[in-house]
Symmetry: C2
Subunit: 99 residues, 2 copies
Amino acid sequence: MDTIGDILRTERENRNLLLRQASALLEIDQAILSKIERNERKATKEQLNGFAKVYELDIETLLILWLGEKIYKNIENEDFPLKALKVAEEKVKYNKTKK
Amino acid sequence: MDTIGDILRTERENRNLLLRQASALLEIDQAILSKIERNERKATKEQLNGFAKVYELDIETLLILWLGEKIYKNIENEDFPLKALKVAEEKVKYNKTKK
DNA sequence: TGTACATTTGACACATCTTGTCAAGACAAA
DNA sequence: TTTGTCTTGACAAGATGTGTCAAATGTACA
């Protein structure tokens, strides 16, 4: 299952960019970039926009994956993750109609 | 749509407990309890267990609702919440089989 | 092997978010 | 007003997130 880190690493390699070069383009410290690509750190939302721009990736796809992983990190060690997701989903739908 | 706060306030009132009394039983500061019941603060997991014990509520139900609200707070102001939830769900299922 | 270059790791400081504590404010009933 | 209940806001301590840097590790090849 592809993680954001996997994708970003692949995209960088497809462009034949070294970490050093990509980190300059992205204005992200090389150490942080390394960690993001190995899923040791989560990118900030701002950094995510940078990736989309520099690598010309679809920001929507990236955002969804990024948020999905954020959610997952919240629930991976909890007891009833799927039921909790269902609750969250219902709340989203409910509050959409309410507006 | 019932929030944890709503439920906890109702349960306390059903038992004719004042905030002061409930906060003593629960060993939670009264100000915090007030805020939890009005959904201004989220209970900690430990406090949640306290509620279940003192009010004799099903801890599983409480946990699911609590986690669901936590997830929801993460996504309510994001652009593609439902798709992100789907991603998280797939990750949960995928990592379940992996173990 | 040694050297140059790329990547990873870990320690640190700084900022932001979370949590608990407390006192004062708001509100209702008598 | 007085009394009792609930709410609000300010604060401190702790936890978590983020960026920076230098040292350590890994890799290719002369």
